[in-house]
Symmetry: C2
Subunit: 199 residues, 2 copies
DNA sequence: CCTACCGATCGGTAGG
DNA sequence: CCTACCGATCGGTAGG
């Protein structure tokens, strides 16, 4: 009667796995994501699950990609696609704060958690995380440089310094939201950003 | 011939275990710290090791305490015990940057790593970490308040905002040191601190 | 502190 | 996608 699993079904199952993996990984880390637990919670067998990815490491890499997808959808793609510059930078940062504030993933920022977890290791997962971090900094760098050449930031702006401080504000936001459940943290992040852009 | 293990020997063994645990945990996390691995690397049996702590959770709590010991020794106790205030606050922050810069633990700041790992969970380990974070913020709060009442910081200083930004600078420092091995990060942290105290 | 062991779970494979 | 299984390792205990 019912046809064999179509390619679309397969893709859907894969997305279900990745969605649940992302939720687990944001709370308990990429290593806390075990095949057995994942299979049980999704109501499938370990072998069936592993069939989609081959090994746990491949699954972890797919989760990193899925997390990047979510972040790109929720932050840069969410703001009006104005020309690069200070206005766009501010919009991106506001979307970033809002992303963390809205608790899109149950455990907060996946990349913050996963980066802290893997920064002391080596291998493909660590490299993928480092690559995503570098890509995102590159985006910020472009906006900041443009803001400087537009005259919206002082000509002596230290671009890397600004990226450093931006990231610090976001790391602190994630920290206060996750550890302290401090509802005042987003306002603090916004205030810190204002001070950063108004120097 | 040789006497039975003395209480001093026992304490020494315990310290050896905790020291090695701290090194592992700063790199691979408090959960990556497994009894079997720890026992092998220390050349003792799992049962012998567990005898000192009872359960893994008790070991994890002891590691949190040991990490606090190291941090207190390397940061607040390392600066001249001047009266609380802006001078002391600046000294403490410099010791904090230096602590991370000198890579006292192989995986960077234990508390940053462990907090990111446990902030999505519940239980005694998470609570102990939250408690240490709160204690440290209390210290910083006292210094900032004193600096304000001394007139060394503006009377309208938002104390919690300054703590937030301070923590962000340190989280970013740990991030850039661990993930990017960016030797320029300590200088960026110092510059960000200057800007924070000079507003 | 040790040896010897426990049940549970890990990632993964064979075969269908 | 499944069942059935593998060796390795997990935290922990009994008994000395």
């Amino acid at each position: 009667m019912s046809p064999r699993r179509s390619a679309a079904d397969t893709r859907e199952t894969r997305q279900r796995i990745l969605g649940h993996s992302l939720a687990i990984a944001s709370q308990e880390g990429l290593e806390g994501l075990t095949i057995g637990r994942l299979a049980t919670e999704l109501g499938m067998s370990k072998a069936g699950l592993l069939g989609h990815f081959g090994t746990k490491e491949t699954l972890q890499l797919a989760v990193v990609d899925a997390a990047a997808e979510v972040f790109l959808r929720e932050v840069p793609r969410r703001v009006k696609q104005l020309p690069s510059g200070l206005r766009r930078l501010k919009d991106v940062c506001e979307a970033w704060v809002s992303y963390l504030e809205r608790n899109v993933l149950p455990g907060g920022c996946f990349f913050t958690a996963a980066t802290a977890e893997f920064d002391g290791r080596s291998g493909p997962v660590r490299d993928a995380l480092a690559g995503m971090n570098a890509l995102w900094r590159r985006d910020l760098r472009i906006h900041i440089r443009r803001a400087v050449s537009d005259g919206d930031l002082p000509p002596d702006t230290d671009v890397e310094q600004m990226i450093y401080e931006l990231l610090g504000i976001m790391l602190a936001l994630n920290h206060f939201l996750q550890l302290e459940k401090d509802a005042a943290a987003p306002a603090r992040a916004r205030r810190a950003l204002e001070r950063l852009f108004r120097r």
